[in-house]
Every structure is written in C-alpha cells, then in structure tokens.
C-alpha cells in the first residue's frame, strides 16, 4: 500500500454531499481502483413518518466509529475510508449516514463498506425516534435481530479465517 490510509470520520448535524466526501478521499490519487459508497436515507414509511430524530452519545460516537474503521483497515487493504453519521432531526429523503471505502480492488471495497455498515448499526451509539406525519411523537425505533446477525457473520468469518 502507498502510505497511510486516508480517513475521515464525522458526527454532525449538517447534511453531507456524497461527491464532496468521495473527492476528499480520492482526489489526486492514481492508485485507487475501486470506490464503494453507501448512503443511508430517511424513508417516509409510506407517508406515515414526518422525520427521524437521531440522538447520539457525543464522544463515544466518534470513538466507536474510529474503532470500527480501525478494524476494517486491519481486515482489508484499504486506501481511504470515510464514515459520516448525522444527528438531530432528519426528514424523509435526507441522508443519515455515509460510508465510503477505496481500495485497489473491488472486493475489498465492497466487503469493507458492508462490514462498516453492519458494525455501525450495532455498535455506534445512535438511536432513532420517529416523528409521525399526524404530528404525534412516535416511538423509539427498535433494534432488529437481523442487524445483530448481519454483524455477527463478520465474527464468524474471522474465526473461520483464523481457524
């Protein structure tokens, strides 16, 4: 690999721009072959949802995201990694989270991006509360068992590869 991995980790209320974030990580480089991005957006749940309110644990959110990125860098030959997670009130159609991975080869970029999202979902201290279109404050979004399973498959993969 040519030098250290470029990384950007952000926890912010403001929206982000996909193109700007990808540019930050890849501009001027000629050794990157593959860039994968994942953007998570707020859905309106067939019109029922007016917004999501994202609460986070300041300090731990950044730390935990850095630890997840560390782990991805250890597992895959990455050249650049960006992770941004928003907090505050987010409307349907707006972005919530962004993961960008860059590598010489596509499989590393795809796997690392998928891993980062699975781990962010289960380890980064963020919580979603629903605000409903009828003006009422809905409930806290419940964690999904399939998200835990998605994260666990990476542990199984590691155990297997070490086996």
């Amino acid at each position: 690999m040519a030098g250290p991995v470029t990384r950007h980790i952000g926890v912010q209320a403001a929206p982000f721009d996909l193109a700007v974030e990808v540019e930050k990580l890849t501009k001027g480089r000629t050794d990157i072959g593959a860039v994968v991005s994942f953007t998570g957006l707020c859905r309106d749940e067939a019109g029922q949802l007016s917004a999501l309110e994202l609460e986070h644990y300041p300090g731990m959110a950044e730390d935990e995201m850095a630890r997840v990125v560390d782990e991805a860098e250890q597992r895959w030959p990455l050249q650049a990694v960006g992770v941004i997670h928003r907090f505050g009130l987010i409307r349907p159609g707006e972005v919530i989270v962004l993961v960008v991975t860059a590598s010489a080869h596509r499989v590393a970029a795809f796997e690392a991006a998928s891993f980062l999202m699975d781990y962010l979902k289960t380890r980064a201290p963020f919580w979603k509360k629903e605000h409903l279109a009828d003006g009422s404050s809905g409930s806290w979004v419940e964690a999904k068992a399939h998200d835990d399973l998605a994260a666990e498959r990476w542990s199984a993969a590691q155990a297997f590869s070490k086996g």
């Binding site: 998570g40 994202l54 997670h85 979902k121 980064a124 201290p125 979603k128 806290w140 964690a143």
Partner: protein, 84 residues
C-alpha cells in the same frame, strides 16, 4: 463519585440525561449498578425492567453486565443502538 449518563428511552424513563452518584460498596459490576438504580424509583424501575435489554458503556467503551465498575469515571446506559 461517578458520572452516569442515559440515552434514548433509558434517558426518558430515568427522567434525566445525567447525574453524579456515589456508588455503595455493594455495587461491583454493571449488573449490580443497574439493579441498584432500578430500586431507586418508579422511572428507574421501568428503565431497567428488562435489564438484559439495556446496554452499558464505561468511559465510552461498550462493556458487558459482568464488567466491574471500579475506576470508571463515566458510565452510560442506553437501549440497543439503532443508527446507520
């Protein structure tokens, strides 16, 4: 004195975002602390009604219920995370 911080519905049920507490000697682990907090009032009892659901962090690192609280400066309790 240790700082306790709460998030999401744990925060709502506790009725506060954070507090400073002096832990009794009987509280050795995170599980002990949750049990002790649950005995304080109705809101706390509700927050820890299913203690196995509530997650914890010490000094901004995830920990298990069996983790000792000794030496902690900040202990957080929160529901399973739903970011991403």
């Amino acid at each position: 004195m240790v700082k306790l911080v709460y998030f999401a519905w744990v925060r709502e049920r506790m009725g506060m975002a954070e507090e400073m507490v002096e832990l009794p000697a009987s509280v050795v682990t995170i599980a002990d602390l949750a049990l002790w907090l649950a005995g304080r009032d109705e809101g706390a009892a509700l927050a820890f009604a299913n203690p196995e659901v509530v997650r914890a962090a010490i000094d901004k690192h995830h920990v298990s219920p069996q983790t000792p609280v000794k030496g902690a400066r900040e202990i957080a309790f929160f529901p399973p995370m739903t970011g991403g």
